[in-house]
């Protein structure tokens, strides 16, 4: 589709951005009737959320444990190991949990969404729906988008909690930081604001990643190569945009 070449690269990017924006508005309009089909929505929450749970939990555990090790090593130099809980909790809640969840989500659920919708396009299923007067935006795109948007904050919360316990596992059980001090210090300096920051970020990432995945799939070239290309673009665009938006949101919150 994009035979624009080198000098048309910028134009192609702008076109894609505009197409994405229009698609986003169409999607939001289609989301209203999609809410009236909870079973479809539940199916997509299951696909995007429940089936990503294992990878999210595993990643959360190990990120938390690494944070525990690195944080302990760093804080030990200043003789304040008891602040490990604060470091781990703030790092996880505000940055690591939303970002890593979004990256994993783009890889795990985003690619599945793109290739699924892309194949529907390639095998003319979307056209068939249109012929039967079933709006594929309502029936295919909107539930998948909403499912991703709902799943992402929940996955992020799970990631944070598992990560925190991973850090506790290393800090308290392995390194010998006092359990009471670990939690009391954490509770003393983590505010509701930090939790909100993580949740707002994850919601924004959820919207971004789901939008990109659904959009790329919906407008994928109806060939095997086109679907492959769209899937690749989903991962690249989701990851880059997640990190970029993360900076913007962090600057906004601080």
């Amino acid at each position: 589709m994009s035979h624009a070449g080198g000098n048309g690269f910028l134009l192609e990017g702008v076109r894609r951005l505009g197409s994405g924006a229009i698609f986003f508005i169409q999607l939001l309009v289609a989301c209203v009737p999609a809410c009236g089909r909870p079973r479809l929505l539940a199916h997509q929450i299951y696909n995007a959320g429940a089936r990503s749970l294992i990878i999210i939990m595993l990643a959360g555990l190990f990120v938390g444990m690494v944070l525990g090790l690195q944080g302990f090593d760093l804080l030990q130099r200043f003789g304040s190991e008891e602040s490990l809980g604060i470091a781990a909790a703030l790092g996880l809640l505000r940055e690591l949990a939303p970002v890593i969840t979004a990256l994993l989500f783009a890889g795990r659920a985003g690619t599945a969404l793109t290739s699924e919708i892309g194949l529907m396009r390639a095998t003319d299923q979307l056209t068939a729906m249109e012929i039967m007067a079933v709006d594929p935006m309502r029936y295919v795109a909107a539930p998948r988008f909403l499912g991703g948007v709902i799943a992402m904050p929940l996955l992020t919360a799970v990631f944070s909690v598992i990560g925190l316990f991973g850090a506790q596992l290393i800090g308290v059980q392995l390194m010998g930081v006092d359990r009471g001090v670990f939690w009391s210090q954490t509770q003393g300096s983590v505010g509701l604001r930090d939790v909100t920051e993580g949740m707002v970020k994850s919601l924004v990432f959820g919207i971004t990643c789901s939008l990109i995945a659904v959009h790329e799939g919906y407008y994928a070239a109806p060939t095997a190569e086109g679907v492959a290309l769209a899937t690749t673009r989903t991962v690249v665009a989701s990851s880059v945009l997640t990190l970029l938006l993360d900076y913007v949101l962090t600057a906004e919150f601080l």
């Binding site: 299951y46 304040s80 909790a89 919360a157 909690v161 954490t186 939790v195 949740m199």
Partner: protein, 190 residues
């Protein structure tokens, strides 16, 4: 139908788990949130301090460096203008003399504050509701530095009286003798 059921259960479990995690983050983590944690056993003693620094609820109470309990509440007594610190001591440490001495200390140079208890010599032991009479406030690093410079300036002022107007100006580092003197002042507080 069978497959549909597993799907519903899976979705339900996932949403439930997500909200449970969210509930944990909002209620258990911030200090302002609700606490569902079970009340820990032990007996409570109180102590009054002039200055508790940044001692917090949950900070440890130690004896000879070993954690024996934690700070359960901090309030301000508006009659005597002192901070009243309530401490929960683990039940196995029930032989702390009545006339023990409580002081607020710092972990490392910049670490958090904790309460250290040095044993007294009385035969009576602390029990639930007792009060530790002898206390030593937190050492605030800035006030120690201030005190040091103040005493340095006054001694310098008495040495050469024409220089007494400038109190905080001290471009020369402290002499050995003065330094030792201030350390001597700070030592009993530790």
């Amino acid at each position: 139908m069978r497959a549909n059921h597993t799907l519903e259960i899976g979705t339900g479990l996932f949403v439930l788990l997500g909200f449970a995690a969210l509930l944990f983050l909002t209620t258990q983590l911030p200090a302002s949130g609700l606490r569902f944690g079970s009340a820990k056993s032990g007996y409570h003693v109180t102590a009054e301090f002039d200055d508790i620094g940044d001692l917090k609820v949950g900070s440890s109470v130690t004896m000879a460096g070993v954690r024996i309990g934690d700070v359960s509440a901090i309030r301000f007594d508006s009659k005597v203008y002192k901070a009243v610190v309530a401490m929960r001591i683990n039940p196995q440490f029930n032989q702390i003399p009545q006339d023990s001495y409580a002081s607020i200390q710092t972990q490392g140079l910049l670490g958090g504050k904790y309460v250290g208890i040095s044993p007294g010599g009385a035969d009576e032991y602390l029990k639930d509701g007792s009060n530790i009479d002898q206390t030593q406030s937190a050492i605030v690093l800035e006030s120690v530095v201030n005190k040091f410079f103040a005493s340095y300036a006054t001694s310098k002022g008495s040495d050469n009286s024409q220089n007494s107007g400038t109190q905080t100006q001290s471009k020369v580092p402290a002499t050995q003798g003065k330094g030792a003197d201030t350390h001597g002042k700070a030592e009993p507080q530790k």
